[in-house]
Symmetry: D2
Subunit: 346 residues, 4 copies
Amino acid sequence: MIGFAVVGYGYWGPNLVRNISETTRADVVSVCDRDGSRLDGVRGRYPSVKTTTDFEEVLRDPKVDAIAIATPVSSHFRLAMQALMAGKHVFVEKPMAATAEEASRMVEEALRRRLVLAVDHTFVHTGAVRKMRELVDSGLGDMYYYDSVRVNLGLFQHDVSVIWDLAVHDLSILDYVLPEKPVAVSAIGMSHVTGEPENIAYLTLFFESKMIAHIHVNWLAPVKVRRTLVGGSSKMIVYDDLEPSEKIKIYDKGITMNGNTHAGYGEKVHQMLVGYRSGDMYAPRLDMTEALKHELNEFIDCIEQNERPIADGLAGLRVVRVLEAATRSLAQRGRVIELEEMRRIA
Amino acid sequence: MIGFAVVGYGYWGPNLVRNISETTRADVVSVCDRDGSRLDGVRGRYPSVKTTTDFEEVLRDPKVDAIAIATPVSSHFRLAMQALMAGKHVFVEKPMAATAEEASRMVEEALRRRLVLAVDHTFVHTGAVRKMRELVDSGLGDMYYYDSVRVNLGLFQHDVSVIWDLAVHDLSILDYVLPEKPVAVSAIGMSHVTGEPENIAYLTLFFESKMIAHIHVNWLAPVKVRRTLVGGSSKMIVYDDLEPSEKIKIYDKGITMNGNTHAGYGEKVHQMLVGYRSGDMYAPRLDMTEALKHELNEFIDCIEQNERPIADGLAGLRVVRVLEAATRSLAQRGRVIELEEMRRIA
Amino acid sequence: MIGFAVVGYGYWGPNLVRNISETTRADVVSVCDRDGSRLDGVRGRYPSVKTTTDFEEVLRDPKVDAIAIATPVSSHFRLAMQALMAGKHVFVEKPMAATAEEASRMVEEALRRRLVLAVDHTFVHTGAVRKMRELVDSGLGDMYYYDSVRVNLGLFQHDVSVIWDLAVHDLSILDYVLPEKPVAVSAIGMSHVTGEPENIAYLTLFFESKMIAHIHVNWLAPVKVRRTLVGGSSKMIVYDDLEPSEKIKIYDKGITMNGNTHAGYGEKVHQMLVGYRSGDMYAPRLDMTEALKHELNEFIDCIEQNERPIADGLAGLRVVRVLEAATRSLAQRGRVIELEEMRRIA
Amino acid sequence: MIGFAVVGYGYWGPNLVRNISETTRADVVSVCDRDGSRLDGVRGRYPSVKTTTDFEEVLRDPKVDAIAIATPVSSHFRLAMQALMAGKHVFVEKPMAATAEEASRMVEEALRRRLVLAVDHTFVHTGAVRKMRELVDSGLGDMYYYDSVRVNLGLFQHDVSVIWDLAVHDLSILDYVLPEKPVAVSAIGMSHVTGEPENIAYLTLFFESKMIAHIHVNWLAPVKVRRTLVGGSSKMIVYDDLEPSEKIKIYDKGITMNGNTHAGYGEKVHQMLVGYRSGDMYAPRLDMTEALKHELNEFIDCIEQNERPIADGLAGLRVVRVLEAATRSLAQRGRVIELEEMRRIA
């Protein structure tokens, strides 16, 4: 039985408390929030859970084995480091930290103390994204592109751009789904409110191969869209997260290249060498378990068996590194930032 | 009664012949194609129309007042210049020419000879795009963004990238709809077939104002998408060209800024100043006249009344200039190309 | 402050308890269920609420002003009558009772004791249905038809047919939205599992006017559909309850009749007299308050101000009367049952 | 080479002439229409085709082997009989005739003279409906229901109700797809224009088995819908004819019955015996050949090889018989009409 403390009881904290309460393998020992008024909700719903505004109290509590951090990103580093130094396992909201430097130190601290450090990349625990990884592993052929549109009329944030709020989801999905990691990033965006961060942005990720990834995020769109096209040499996917059940559609469509395209026969002959294939479509049944439930079970497994979660600190670090590079690119109208360069700077 | 010759009887030529035949204000005098076998189709359907493989014959024919050019882009300049020099009005497919230099000389030639030079920017003659212009003129408020997705499993072309094939539509729409012209361009793309031009590309257009335009074009997508989001400070539009009738939806949605956002009251106060508005949606009835019919009538009007068409040679030139800059950017992983710089080079 | 008891803590009971808890105008005093194991959930979440398996205890409790009944339909009559006789106001699930006779006696009992009797016709408290009523009142013109499709792969019930489970929603909507009441009913259906009630059914309601209503309900459909077409002489509505926000779309479409259609000019002239109108579409912003919250507030208002709720006992009775007639028709392959005849029999 | 005459050059005639012209196995010899002005269109487009307003001339022409009849239904019988008696094969629009009596005599005449009599049940020649038949033959299991919605703002007809105009499509599909024929019919409808036939109608077809078919047709709907749900014991289909490519979707969904449902264990045990299955969805690639082309080729095959077309006179007769029974039922508010009874009357 793992004892949990949840720090931060704003938007996401209640989901954590509910999911931990619902599993038989863990207990919510305490909930901590600097804003005491938020804790009333906890006391009403979960009378047996301790509440506190003092994080030190949580750190001292021997019943607390693991701390779930659901506070604003600027505080992740400080809270997670304190938790790790107090010997607690850590489950931290995405993005993992405000800088790659911070994320990197969190990874080292967890490693040194042999504690589990998990980053809450929720989407990689959905049935849809897990199916997508399966398909990328075998079925799609060579990867050509990943194109995501993630837009809606969303809450403007004042400390970070739309990239840190929305593109982080796609970056975590890409990190999990693709065998290959990006080598460079470009980002273009615009702020439509004076003094505020960018509310619309376009990210491009470059890879060693011919793969290209592109992400459109927007807080100021008239309709909600959550739609990703994934192109492979053998098959293609449409992943629409707003579809109630058929979220993943696999198309047996594409081109086939025949003969020697280097032969220089001239345009006409050349043209005949590209064949078009248009076959069946297929929407597999997906595991509909709530992602957070799946994720917390994996975190508990990792604590009990001393293993590494799918979205471990290194995954979180890789995502923050891309966010940092994208932010730099954004300030220079899309100048391509090599991720190796980022690593050297860090 | 305007006498027309149509040059090029491949994909688009038959549509031109049919539409000209159907109007009572013009006649198809002759159809010309270097590939004589294509002309059989004309003789079967339009027995009274002359057919020829010899363009000189068309130029000499006094019954031909105007020449419609529907050949590959590489031949537009030569054919149009000959036509103008023979005193014929010209209606030329988009893109208008292979280079801005060519387009520029065509514009000058037409001007010098007081002939009408129209570019077949078909979309600007649809009811949907005309309605969009109306809304941009009054209703949307300040323009924030234009985001277009134009993808499908499309015929690979071997001489030009997907930008010249598909993005040209959006560039012509933007040229018509927006009061402001772009000042710089960036384009990123990828070719997934060795030796072939880019089959997927992302274009960004920068403006003096906070407006940003972005265009995703792709010949290798599993589904057909023709969807544009247009964001303004007062209203927003979804333009979906695949909808049978409700192609334009206008959303009374957005944010409202209250008070002095420069006051530096700190985050909390600041946050209250952004208000969210979510009102009605409205899909106006659109004129469903075939765009090409509308366009040819306008061309005939211009000939008869010595006026300039909406999509005149200068519009065609502006679009080619962006295509050229985008192609240059594409070769440099999205380096931003200033359009002023393009003009100076040209 | 109104004290509530909730009887029945299966599927719907928890929603009642949550909504009553969230209002400041009422308290959940106790929850009662014959199956004691269900009450564990109440104790965990709401430690201050009394739980019991004994309905008599609820009836005796002076803190209980009103009883919400969320048990199977067969027990509604007995529980509601006991509650009314104990002087409690009653809020009862739909369908209100198993027979019109029962419903009728409940209405009389409430009337005699001047107690509020509300039937939980949830849909009539949604923003969408309230907007629909507004439109029927002024805007649609003469009512022509109401056509609803309400199908999905649904839980088979063993005591009642799909009509009592699904069509009851449309009957409650019709009762609220239309000024006119049906005069006759026909129902056709089929059971595809031996010994089970009908899992697919088609109901038709006849009116004095030219209005016709038709309802398709089905527990064995491959996709979920909740779509209603409403036709009027001036405008038409599509109401799609699965749309996230644009649930109501109003079409300015229809026919216009010109001139004297009785003149007998023969077919040709006659045909010219029917004009087709196809105008704008409009999706009004809807109140998105949770229906049950709206409904409970209205119930509390009625108790405090001694008024009648929108869905009172008589509304519940009218719906049960149609269900009874439909069930009779179902057994006779759609024989038309006059509702007057039903009333006389009752 | 089969010589064709096309009689009737209104809405459908031009499609027939175009398709016959495009095949290499047949020639359009002549086109006949009582309204001579319509023939101008033929002369412009097909200068080698004879045109006439005199049907007798067509009958006498020895070059005419087959006559395609695309006139109003009231004239089908007279024209087809004359054609057959003149020794011509006949291809007649649907519905085949105005009464079952007429249809029956046409069948006999064709049989006696060993001529091919085909009815233009266009839909049964689409890739979608042919795939549906394949699935019904093997894959769907026992047939449970066929539910079609075929509505739009359509042209009001003055001589026949919406059933003869729209439901005829579904009746021809059912006749082709199902191994079983209907035994009884019920139809309910309404006319919203005084003196005009019904513009909205609901048809139900009963079968010996537990199969039920239901068809909703409407000329006064705000949106166009062409959607059919087909339920079987093993799989279910959604057939949406407005989808550009995925017209047929096959769902591996349904219920499974376990154990002895007659055992009378009481409700609780009973409930456990119904299992729900929700699996993959699959959209097979369809043959996209134009249906009319497929159909005319089959008609020519039948003439050349002396065979019977899929939609022969008997299929046409069966459909007319159902239409006649439905019309009778319509006049009696849905009284169930046994088809055997119809046959005896006829």
